[in-house]
Symmetry: D2
Subunit: 349 residues, 4 copies
């Protein structure tokens, strides 16, 4: 491949956790080159000074956003919600592609955005051009788009677990419960009491019970699946590991639906999906087995005594739940093979 | 106190995890003395050779069961299910008190025991004399008994969380889900692939979904609360920490019941219970805050969007979930103040 | 015991890690009552709001220092170096006892203090009245004193390991190397990048190589042992566990000294010390076995091929390395049995 | 590249920890194909059943050794010492290349092998043909060889840290101390009390003090560097993390040698080495920054007060300390670019 032909990518928020994970993946991606890294806190400093793991691999200094957009063909942004809308507008103005790892373009309904995030849609047209980038579910919608809203980490694990069952009407639409557990990288780079090692290690608790901002995003996707409005109970927990989200989703089988039907439907639904691995009956998804990779492992379980279908999914919150999926979306809008640069084999330990 | 007047206690299975935790608690208990330790695997070896933490604190050698029962007034047994029934019979024959940390006497219904554990009740009378030792719920039944079935770890956390709500009819009796997460000590002393550090650390998964043996025990207690048969979905997960069980229980509020009513009822229900700490609204139970202690922290949460009451409880699986509760039961049947030897303050980290 | 006769103690810096550990120990101490807790950051807030582990155990609100000193007979201070000198002066003025967990009174030589800490001795007399509170080595000096400098965590582990060998001339005075590894609580309560869970977990590195402020304190004690000035190489490492310091000390046996002589000397030196446990030959000290307790486990090892004596010690940095030793010093100056309130049995896991 | 032209590799001991790590690396290696996996314990079972991380990536069943050798051009063996000699002989007989990850061919001196491992050299000629495969130090010796002894994990970290200093005569040859800390994968796949999560987590201790089998291997390499026999004190510790070895090596600077000279020498010595990253002065090597990669990070530190040079190295014990270095050796003897398949970027967390 001609080095000059490589797509130039820039990362706004490169020193955040999603940002540096993008660097890890993109530095090994054969079709792109990292043209610019942006950071407000570390402008002028090399990324490898902030993350010594990158020494000799990517020693680029961080630049400001304007310079970054100018020197890139495609821009990723891993920043707090509310900040991406203006970056997206600037990218559109400059004819650049934009993949947003934040929350600004994930919700279709401005009222919901206002309610859960407290902000407004600055430009309704811009939101109209955005696509929700969960490739396994909405691949055809993503192709050809210039602005992709990369899903949240919890919503990715929950949607891949539940979408097929709701789509096919295999489970009841009411009463779904999503009990999710996330590794600490989900809290981002800023240290706090919650993530202070002695208070986080050997600890475990739920947080933001029934009030986490990913709730409407999960409901939006599941409502698309069900064809009607779905409400869920969503309880996230902070897990003392670096990476991984395990989602335990509780549903009720529709009368007459057999577990084997469900298994067969899932097997068929995901049969061509490289990044979804359906576990054989009797096996259980574990965050251990997908870490550092773009895989989502899913296992299906029947609780015969109560007629429940329990679905377990495991993703790496920083890869399939953030940077990996962002690169997958990039590959789609660049018309590259979808797994380019994403064939990371999860280590056994 | 006169040393000669101390109650002599023996521990069958002293080198198991529940056993050594009993040693930790009983060695500091002012009203008893450890008369004998039993171990099949380590007979003749000092307990402090097996657990160097006990060096100079308890260096007693392990003896056989017969000798142990003979030299003790009260016997604890921390052994696999199926083994306690004969020990209990021997204790009854010798006029000894018996606190069983195993599963043999927990289930009232022999059919359930057969179904879940595969064994029979060897002596129906003996089972008739046994009491289920969850003091906060069944204290009066325990007093004066000579044979106590100490509850399982998961059932303790689940029952303390859900019993009041069901007892008072505050929540629906159907559709209860218990998503529980246990530290690795719950797997006991025998090493395995599952508990091998490199495969257990940075890992997380559910196990025995809908099939864990603690399921009927939880249902038995909740059925007593509800006054009718209760079925639950119970999913345990293995948490990469040493100690602690966090239980996230999902219920539906009965029509017309307000969250504040629930909170007030729980506050009243547990107002005299030293070992149950109800968290203030807005606070969340965390296994960090109870570890090494006999506390059960409980927090109540409303998910207004779905009408759910979500109850979270945190116990140390080895203390309130095993050895601590066993000592609490001992105190009751010995007519000692219930917290004797159990005022262990949980460390902040 | 008459409640009115209990000694009133106050803790300056109660919401720091050493402070809250003092609360854990003192709340169970039979001869004292916690009269006041001081905190600049949390004045007016209950300690149990900051550390929920203390709920229902100690719910005292934090007060300012002046009020604290007034209402206490004995004051502990767990604050950054440079702050204790004025507190100590105020205590002396008020006739109060003072146990300083900071560094202000540990070094005898003001020049060293200036060099390593950058401050001065504000009152030379006050420093003259202070005693270095390592009871196993300097017990007689501590008795009757009113101002105790509680040793640093690393210096405690290092001194207990090396003092006897140097005192008896069993090892060479030159070339001693101390390679120490500390749990993350040693970094205190303030979160930082270094202690941020995802960057601290699954990580391990030395820090402040040859430049840690505990170096002169270790040398001071070892010089007293040797009767001449000792210089050491000291390298601390940050260990991804909550608690514990393991010290691996490398010395060279003096010509003609046999390992068995060393073992016998240590056994005799520590034979009456309740809190020092010398491991049998072939056994190895491990931080696992002393955590949450005031023990210092020591094991001795010969490297015959190189003529080295390698000494390993394990302490809980927050107990024997801070709060526990402070209480031990308190017991001495209050003329109480030295182990009062300190018989905490380390858990096996 | 023509798939048919790919080198066929086989892995004896594929279900061991080094074996499965070889699978992770080789499955992504562009110039080889995994022809066969060998396992005694899991013959007939797919590797992905043993390690679910490999699902859909490598689902090959395990075969016996004979079949494995026959179907491969190059064979790796990750088995206990004493077992490789016959495999090596079989490979030579069949004209196959052999890379041994065990200890059988590492020591040049049969007497040392007998003393530390208790076995004999079965075929002196075979040992004569073997080369010690530490590429950064002995690259030219490795080229063209058919039998490579892949170094031990501790010896790799120690040799890369110390070799240059000894080679250049910058440090004294006597009195070198190597204090090393290894993640738990170093203990291999078989669970034991030592690696049982509740006894290994929140624990830390040295083991085999002065008696670890890697001692003579380290000394062999350092003696080559120094040109005379070197004796070291080597103390390994078990670190509660999955991966990584941190080596803290203590040396004494030769009179007149300045720290800057040492730094410059190391910078020059390793200037063309892709897998060795010398940290800038003031920076410190950390196992966090190299995990999952083939890097060895090295930092140099002066302890001016004692005239010591302290060298810190960090490797992933399973990659540069085992499987990665084995592939690096394979690349050399296959005359491929040395980093082929080894450009794994270490994640930041």
């Amino acid at each position: 491949m001609n080095e000059n032909k490589k797509i130039k990518v820039g990362i706004i928020g490169a020193t955040g956790f999603a940002g540096v994970e993008l660097v890890r993946i993109l530095a090994a991606h054969p079709a792109v080159e990292i043209a610019a890294l942006g950071s407000v806190s570390f402008e002028g400093k090399a990324i490898s000074e902030v993350y010594p793991s990158l020494l000799n691999i990517c020693d680029k200094p961080c630049v400001d956003t304007e310079e970054l957009i100018e020197s890139s063909d495609l821009i990723f942004a891993g920043v707090a919600h509310g900040m991406s809308q203006e970056f997206a507008a600037a990218c559109r103005a400059g004819g650049k592609l934009f993949v947003d790892l934040g929350a600004d373009f994930r919700l279709e309904d401005e009222e919901e955005y206002k309610q859960w995030y407290g902000g407004s849609f600055l430009d309704a047209d811009l939101h109209g051009e955005a696509v929700y980038g969960l490739p396994e579910l909405f691949r055809e919608d993503i192709r050809g788009k210039k602005l992709v809203a990369n899903p949240g980490c919890y919503p990715t694990g929950a949607a891949l677990a539940l979408y097929p069952a709701l789509k096919a009407g295999l489970v009841e639409k009411e009463g779904i419960i999503i009990d999710a557990k996330s590794g600490v990288t989900g809290a981002g780079r800023s240290p706090s009491q919650t993530t202070h090692f002695p208070l986080c290690n050997e600890a475990f608790a739920p947080y933001k019970i029934g009030a986490h901002r990913h709730t409407p995003e999960i409901e939006q996707t599941l409502s698309h699946a069900a064809g009607e409005e779905i409400f869920i109970s969503f309880v996230p927990h902070l897990l003392p590991v670096n990476r991984g989200i395990l989602t335990t989703a509780y549903t009720k089988l529709m009368p007459g639906v057999k577990f084997s039907d469900v298994f067969d439907f899932y097997a068929d639904f995901y049969k061509d999906e490289k990044f979804v691995r359906l576990k054989a009956p009797g096996q259980t998804a574990n965050i251990r087995d997908i870490k550092y990779s773009n895989f989502c492992d899913i296992s299906l379980h029947e609780d015969k005594r109560t007629g429940r279908l329990i679905i377990v999914s495991a993703i790496d919150n920083m890869v399939k739940g953030a940077a990996g999926q962002a690169v997958q979306n990039m590959n789609i809008i660049l018309d590259l093979p979808e797994d380019t640069g994403l064939n990371i084999i999860p280590p056994a330990f």
